[in-house]
Each structure stands twice: as structure tokens, then as C-alpha cells.
Symmetry: D2
């Protein structure tokens, strides 16, 4: 599906908000692509983000998948709004094993208050990408509440 | 519901596996309680694990909730087995805001191959705990496959 | 958790809405209990509502679980409102096998726009009830929109 | 994604199992298409399968979506096996309003024990189809257990 952003400044708005998600810098994740209704986040492998078998922990996969789905949704929101995740479901389809994860968030159904979005997470290993997780969730538009922190 | 562990060494097995989840040390999470069918993980607040509004990122909440539900399940597994998350759903019920998160995982329905478990996550703020998230998911028993890494 | 209904006429409002859910009469389901934040629906076994092994089809279990969670939520809504399900997850924990199903819906977290509710479904067989399914879902309040059909 | 069926008799096996799902005849649902990894079920509108606003009840939408995902999965199972739903999540994206529902189930990730499948449900109204619901769920292969009822 193809979407139009209501707010022409959507990309700057998303990049600014992403920069305030402190967990992204802590994990080493970066925003690799932003377009209306679709956002991509990448995360290079780190041995200190793993579960007991040496793969990315499901919660770390969830972290970038949730933000990818959230910002995909936020790209279609009005300028003066904020975004919250209400719930998501994550299926782990294959070990999150490799040199890098790539989460692609996409809006499935936009709405004034509730947006339904998906994210697919791919693990890059030896030059090949494999779908390793899929998220589907509900994002909430907080109208008239800028995402920017209030002045101090 | 109350459960009996089939493996008397369940607690040591869980603590050893938790210690190999490198993401836990990275986040600063600790295993605060282990009993048959129930496991608790705590995570003190850190400003570098947040989303854009300064609360814990949903993926970090998911990280400790998933491990709490996973190890609650693993407590009922046989000694020579491993645990994998197949899927989970997470509801964000209130901002994950405060001095510390506490995730309590509990088995809802044990099974030979599939175990259904829940986790509730509480945020401690100013001496009061508030339910901020709830997870329900499916854990898989890998029979005859020790969780320990193979000898090098 | 215990809740107070904002609308003293909540029970009549729910019973009237349930009576308009034509699928309930078609299946033979009845509203067995209504209180603030909790609603119970019962469904006697019928051989023509089954899946291939002779148990209730998961979708029929979902039907009464969804309505139980929906009306549990609706009990806390204002008088002049309507209720919609946005999403739910259903775990099938045991075969829905027996003489009767009983779905108990309960509000987990009320909200002005979004309410999170759960439902447990029990199968009665030979005088004993067994938890056979669990639902958790998101219900939406449509403010200022009566649930009653508009006059013709 | 494109799949190959391991059992050349998969279509007859599915049609025979569907015929034993008594709820399908009760609702008036029919199996409109079967191929490896994809199954389609249709359900004409009936005023006696509705929620309070006159649209298909979410549980009825779930019934055909669950069977479509289940049989899509079952198409890839070995001959001597049976299929069970472990859990599913259903998002309601638009009112299930119109002359007919069409549920298209597709396998997302096949597996020896667990298969992850999706279903999209479209509502046909005035000659146009609209996506009204999406399901994603976990299906279990019961190995060595034919789906056929045991001889009496």
C-alpha cells in the first residue's frame, strides 16, 4: 500500500524523535530509511545483547521492530501529535543470528486515533537476509500533543 | 496455580542460563526470585534505555517480561532441555516510569512441547508499584538439548 | 480488581445490546451475569458448532470470549457510548470439550478511549470446569454514539 | 512465498476435514480454493451472525480466518497428521459489512511442529472488496495422528 504524509515535515519530526530514544544509541541502532508509512531501523550484532544461545534477545528484536512500526505510523500523523504503542505481538520465526538486524515497519491501516502497523525483521548473515521475526501492533495518536519535550 | 518442578536442580539451571543472557548484564537486570512456575526479574531505571518521552522503551519492558515468562516456563522443564520463545503479545498499560521495573513471569498452562506463560511488569515510583505492562506468550521445550553451550 | 460503573443503567444497556447481537441467539449463548467490569456468557454444547474433532471451533470460543470481554468493558463506559473490539489474542489451552462453555470477561485496565480486557473460557465436563481458552484484547469507546440503532 | 505440498493428497485431506467442521455448514461457509500453503473460505452475509450494529460478529470473522490459516498450514503437513490451533491474534480493521466475507489463509513460516500462518479477511460490498480483518497465529502439527475419526 502507498501512503501520503499529511505533514511535509514528517521525516525531520521522526529523526528528531528517534534521536531522543536513548535506547537506540545504547544498542547501536540507526534509522536507515524513512518514507510515508514505512520506516527502517538497523542494528549491528553485539555479543552483549544476546539471549543464552548467543542470538539477539527477543526483546532487542522487539525494540527495533516496535520503533520501526511506531515511526512508520508516526510518519502519517499530523505535525502536532505524539505516538504511543498500545500493544504488539511478536512472532520469532528464526534465530536472530548474523551480522546485523534490519526492521522494516509498515502501516497496515492508518486511523485518526488507532493505527495498525507491522514490522518484519531480517537477519543478515554471510550476505543473505532471512526473515527472523514479525510484529503486528496498535499505535495511538496523541492529538495536539507535540512529541517535543516541554521547555525547562 | 501451584506447580512442582520435575528437575530438582531447576533453580541452578535457570540462574546459569540467565547469566549467559548477556543482554541482562548490559541492561543491569537481575534475577530476583525463582520458584516452580514463577520467576521475577528486576531492572533499575536508566536514562539510556528510554523511548522519546523518557520512559523505559517498550522493547526493554518486553526484554525482561519475555525472560521472566521464559524462565518461569523453563523451571518446569526437564533437566536436559532448552527453552525458546515462539511468540508473545505485550500490552502497555501505563508509562514504564519510575525507579525500577519488576517483571513477574508465571506459567498459565504447562505442556510437553508448548507452555503458555504470562508476565506482569510493575513500575515502582515513589514507593508505590503500578502495573505497567502485561505479556502472554508461547514457550517451546527443546527436549534432549541442554541449554549449556557445547564444549569448544 | 474492583470497579464502579459510571452509568447506573449499565446492566440494562448491556442486556439490550447483547439482545441485538443476533449471533448469540443463533449459537444459543446467554448472558449469565453482569457486574461492573465483569460479564459472563454461557454456551451449551451443540454438535453443529464444532471443528473436525468434535470440539467447539476456536472461532465459537472466540465469539463468546470477545463478547464477554467487550461487555465487561462496556459496563464501565458512559451511558451515551458504544463499544468496538479493535484486536484480541486467543490462546487455546485445552480442547473446548464438554457440556457447556462459560466465558468470564474482566477489565484489566479501563481507559477513556482504550480499555484492555481479558476473558477466561471454562469447559464444563462431568461436573468439573477446566480452563480451555484465554483472550486478551483492546476495546474502543465510541463517545457520544449510543449503541442503540437510529430511529427508522 | 511459494510452497510445495509433501503429501500429494493434501487437497482431498483438507476438503474431507473441512466437511467435518460442522460449524462451517451451520454458518454457511464454503471452501473456495485450496493450494499448497494457501486456502480460501467464503461466507455469505447472514443477519443472524451479527454483533449489535448489524455487522458480522468478530468471532464469526475469526472462525473463517482461523480455519483458512489452519488449512493453509495443514496443506503442508504430512498425510498422517492432524492440525490444531495453539493461538491467534485478530485485528479488526474495518466493519465486516457487506454481502460476503472472504478469508485467505497463507503460511508465513512452515515448521515440523509449529507453523506460523496469517489470514486476511475481505468484505465484499457493492462489487468492491475491502480488507476488514487480519489474523496471525500458531498451528501445531500432531504427527502420526490422522485427522480422520477412529472407526466406531
Amino acid at each position: 500500500m502507498s501512503f501520503q504524509a499529511a505533514d511535509p515535515g514528517y521525516e525531520a519530526r521522526i529523526r528528531e524523535s528517534f534521536a531522543r530514544q536513548t535506547v537506540m544509541a545504547t544498542l547501536g541502532a540507526s534509522l536507515s530509511s524513512v518514507s510515508p508509512g514505512q520506516v527502517e531501523i538497523q542494528l549491528p550484532f553485539r555479543a552483549d545483547l544476546c539471549q543464552q544461545h548467543g542470538f539477539f534477545h527477543a526483546g532487542i528484536t522487539a525494540t527495533i521492530a516496535d520503533s520501526a512500526a511506531g515511526y512508520a505510523s508516526y510518519s502519517l500523523f499530523p505535525a502536532d501529535s505524539s505516538v504511543l504503542t498500545s500493544e504488539f505481538k511478536l512472532h520469532l520465526l528464526a534465530p536472530a543470528d548474523g551480522e546485523r538486524l534490519r526492521a522494516v515497519g509498515r502501516v497496515l491501516k492508518p486511523g485518526r486515533t488507532l493505527t495498525i502497523a507491522e514490522a518484519e525483521v531480517f537477519a543478515l548473515k554471510g550476505g543473505r537476509e532471512k526473515l527472523c521475526a514479525k510484529l503486528i501492533g496498535t499505535l495511538v495518536t496523541l492529538q495536539g500533543r507535540s512529541d517535543l519535550p516541554a521547555a525547562g
